[in-house]
Symmetry: C2
Subunit: 337 residues, 2 copies
Amino acid sequence: MKKEKSRVTSYNVAKLAGVSRSAVSRAFTPNASVSLKTREKVNIAAKKLGYHPNVMARSLITKKTQLIGLLMADWENPFYASTLKKYSEKLQKENYQTVLATINENSDINTSIEFLMQYQVDGIIMLSALPSKDLVRKCNQKHTPIVLVGNSSKELNTCTVNIDHNAIGENLAALALNLGYRRFVMIRGDKNIESGIQRTESFSKVIEKKEEGKILANLTDILGHDEGRNAMADIIKIDPELVICSSDLTALGVIDGARIDYNLEIPRDMAVIGFGDNPISSWGMNRLTTVQLPHEKLIDESISCLIRRINNPELPPKNIELLSDIITRDTTRKLMQ
Amino acid sequence: MKKEKSRVTSYNVAKLAGVSRSAVSRAFTPNASVSLKTREKVNIAAKKLGYHPNVMARSLITKKTQLIGLLMADWENPFYASTLKKYSEKLQKENYQTVLATINENSDINTSIEFLMQYQVDGIIMLSALPSKDLVRKCNQKHTPIVLVGNSSKELNTCTVNIDHNAIGENLAALALNLGYRRFVMIRGDKNIESGIQRTESFSKVIEKKEEGKILANLTDILGHDEGRNAMADIIKIDPELVICSSDLTALGVIDGARIDYNLEIPRDMAVIGFGDNPISSWGMNRLTTVQLPHEKLIDESISCLIRRINNPELPPKNIELLSDIITRDTTRKLMQ
DNA sequence: CTGAAAGCGCTTACAG
DNA sequence: CTGAAAGCGCTTACAG
């Protein structure tokens, strides 16, 4: 069987340094009441033995693990790699480590959350467009702070950091009308995702109010390049002036379909707007007009919300809404002056 | 200050179930010697109280945390999001949780590794093209199993799972010559990364041996779409028949540069081969000929290597080399029959 | 500033 | 199969 790992404990360090285990503990606690001399003795001994405090044992006492659970549901998002990286780095800077948990068909949200709970994470960041009342209830019950990122349901009694999708819908409508477009097709993925619903509704509200333009079709369950390209078979029959997609990848697919399969010129024959400002979207022939999300801010706000909540559980939860910009490139016509 | 979390402990469950804490512990240990009746009583009480064993306390005794550290250095790789997801899911299936650690300019490898060590991770998976002898030495010293993924240095006394880059270089050369190309330009990123060196060397060895063809230039420190596109300014002067890139993104940039900035037709005027088979590479006009890496296998092998090592530390480390396929699409000419 | 002692929540020989 | 007891490695009042 497994050979026993011979761990270096505070006892060993204490003995070598000629002090008590309390002193060793204090030497590793910032601002603890230890003399500089003791601290130095301990540090030398610790270095010699390769000692690091056992966080597990510590957390048993302090009831803090310095562990943050990162729950991610929507892995299709092409930004997730860099998002993950940034979370991990920024949390590390705040002295937290990141425990990753995945949600998918096989492992449901309950399993994941229970895993995280067993590890006594100090808090949870949930990245998902899906609502999760059960999750929030469970966390509140266990007094584990959680912040919901990118989930647009506001009634929940917890911290949320969101993109203001209503504003996006309105801005999109204003821009579209301004550019002279009147016949629209909207495309999005999962039809139940709140953010897409909000954008679509606020878009159409503006259009109705101004009594200009018309949404010819509202296509759903279309996500990603290939589905976008395939969707052109339907779109071509509808013949819109502008196609607005819920993802840059979908938009790029639509453009490929339009150009390659139907020989359209973009934006002359048809304009396209994406969502997300994927790095790809500015490449070569793509030059996609799209919505640029405040990723960095989303991350920063969610981390600071969570940490604030961890340190002051009695504070009321914050609900933050972030604004986005529209980047105008070459898949929509230029504004006439 | 922080309100005390009122934790449910095994003591509470024991009391409610009318058994000892030992019994509670056993009820949560698979194959422990408990009667079915006791186990059921415990389960009912646990459910009623919302009890989950505290993994931190458990790990103090068992010396196993069921935590795996995932160290990632090369975040440019566009596959990292899905790689991360798969690791997390597969480890979860094996009853491990993933702790993420990042390496970058700010947080060096030592800081990250010490973080992981403090959390007493049972093992570490290091995803990086960079060599890391120090890391391996440190892990061996602490008896923490580590497997190096995608790092081609073989002498290290640890488990490694790699792509066989020599084979790729040879296959690339054979294909290139077969297709009738003779004048090559090679492009890669960081010139010190072993995998790129190996591919380049084995490629040129084949060419020299066959006394056919010539590498006109070996460009380094070029990575990603934009740098690839810019590199066309130099490439156009060299006028190669085939450009071989160390990344699909670079290749796509070269193609954009060739088409848009220099009006070349691909592959008629110049052929391009990428590396990695990024999903983008099969899209629309891209249709990139590229090297398809065995991602899934890389992940599976590294996990099983690590778990084997965790369970049997005395076993000698394995060094696994995986083979890759070349996907021929439309950025190279077709083979004449 | 310092150390002895208690205790965090768990598991595991041990004895029955 | 079961429970009392010891102990994992740490921190933190407490008394000095």
